[in-house]
Symmetry: C2
Subunit: 333 residues, 2 copies
């Protein structure tokens, strides 16, 4: 499989991306990479990593980058030569099998929607993010591709989340929950109350509403929500986790006894950190587009980008888009 | 001040509530309490705590309770003699100055809206919850009173949050942020994009969008959002904090060295726990209704209910409702 990697995407791009590509070529057997970016600007990093054109690595120039503070639509309007748009074109033309980008999420959504089109039957794409919970990971979908959703969008997200959960975590019949404000059927907002009715009729393992309290107990394997709420949940969970880590460090450094305790228990803290480490997860797939696109965390490390390349490689080998289309038809949404 | 306490509200009611009342009478000078509940059902607990009618404690019978799985509107329809509705009636008749309930939030909202009416100029009430962050607490408003909101509702929540932040935390000119999916002006959903425009025009210290990442860094003193998102954030933050605590314990118990370390550092863990302890915060005020109503966490301990009684007492002494009305007028919303 040939993966188009957006060299310019991410808070620490291109350095981190190029380091990741070097590692991926060593560690992931047979993967081929097309590195897309401003060739002049990345040449220094290519030399540093001793990366040259080969049968497994090629380069494609992209003049522009969609910056984080720009509207998403610039990817398909004023910046049609941006790295993410060029990545999408490569897949559209059959010159690559998947995309990895840690850049502007909205731009990736816009570029792939236009260049690759949607899977037949899908109205809106969704980002599926695997999150740590007690007893395993759960999938949050949509984690930020669509800020305004209809009940039918949520029903389609459920199908896409179900397939992702099966494919990525090998769960036979994933439990699907609807994110809401109480576990009773009567609770929710206008959107979730309607979505609840549709989900109840579908031939999926729908377990009803799940509320914030249930999330990290892995009550559900797949949690469905609109992209606004999903993004807020995802980012606030990261924010509270890092606040807790800050408070813990501060409390442990207060005196010599605690410091000694902390040194003795340091492996435990390392294990705790590893649980919530998104580096291992390796990015979130954008589901519903006619192709493979893995979106990396903006603050991705080389390890995280490398994991994302690995995930893109796996996804490209499985024909997920056509599976989504078939399953939507079965579910009548 | 005389506080009507809902004896039947909360996961561990009436036991926990009555224990809290006993402690409050000892610890909060001059507070008077009207305990509202099914007198037969609570008599055992009253005896246990040696609570008798006095000039500081009286009892009012309420035949019914709105259970957690019932629709909120039952408080004002099929269960007009429920404890929360009777509490609201007492305030409406001038027989009490405030309410404390750890029961069904929606029922408390419905009962107080109907019995006490709204503050002049407020369209919807909001729950303001104080949450821990690095460098102090921030106020999340609305934390769950309204699942569907208009942009104008959010603007009014900003005003109520501002006044709460001033009154409760003594912050002179609170920084107000709008919860969204990116800090750029262009990002958000249809609701927040409209609310952004209104907030920008108001004579408040509006700092723009804040996203999930910023929440627990206390970028803003007041974070405004719809009650669906707010409730999800509040509860998922609790959920992830308890998952982290679970993982930490598990990792610390893995071998003798780590266990020793954990014992030496135990005061640090205790301090960490205290930071996120909602028991100290003592419930969240329901703002925008014409009176004082403090909503306790469903899983409230006696200490949490006691803190809520203390907060109700303080609020009743400050004429918050009329201040809200004046400030809304100043802000043109």
């Amino acid at each position: 499989m040939k993966i188009a990697v957006d060299a310019m995407g991410g808070d620490y791009a291109p350095a981190v991306v190029i380091q990741a590509v070097a590692e991926a070529l060593k560690e992931i057997p047979d993967v081929q990479i097309v590195l897309v970016g401003h060739l002049e600007k990345i040449s220094y990093y290519l030399e540093k990593e001793k990366l040259k054109e080969s049968d497994r690595l090629s380069f494609v120039h992209a003049e522009q980058v969609v910056e984080m503070n720009e509207p998403s639509t610039n990817a398909i309007r004023s910046k049609r030569h941006s790295s993410i748009t060029v990545c999408a074109e490569l897949v559209a033309k059959g010159l690559a099998d998947g995309i990895v980008s840690a850049g502007h999420t909205g731009a990736a959504v816009a570029a792939t929607k236009v260049k690759l089109r949607m899977v037949k039957g899908v109205d809106r794409p969704a980002i599926a993010t695997a999150m740590p919970a007690i007893g395993g990971k759960f999938v949050l979908v949509d984690a930020g591709a669509n800020t305004d959703c209809t009940p039918l969008n949520l029903a389609q997200f459920a199908v896409m989340g179900e397939l992702y959960s099966k494919l990525n975590f090998g769960i036979e019949n994933p439990k699907i929950g609807l994110l809401s404000v109480g576990d009773e059927d009567v609770k929710g907002n206008a959107l979730t109350k309607e979505a609840f009715k549709i989900l109840s009729r579908m031939p999926i393992n729908f377990i009803g509403n799940v509320e914030g309290h249930d999330l990290f107990n892995r009550t559900a394997d797949v949690v469905v929500c609109d992209g606004f709420c999903g993004n807020v949940v995802l980012k606030s969970a990261e924010s509270i986790a890092s606040a807790i880590s800050y408070w813990l460090k501060e409390a442990l450094m207060k005196n010599a006894i605690r410091k000694t305790g902390a040194i003795l228990a340091q492996d435990a803290f390392r294990e705790l950190k590893a649980i919530s480490n998104y580096e291992e997860v390796g990015g979130a797939p954008l589901l519903g587009i006619n192709g493979v696109c893995i979106i990396g965390h903006g603050a991705s490390s080389p390890k995280a980008v490398k994991s994302a390349i690995r995930v893109a490689d796996t996804f490209a080998k499985n024909a997920l888009p056509s599976k989504i289309s078939d399953r939507l038809f079965e579910c009548g949404v």
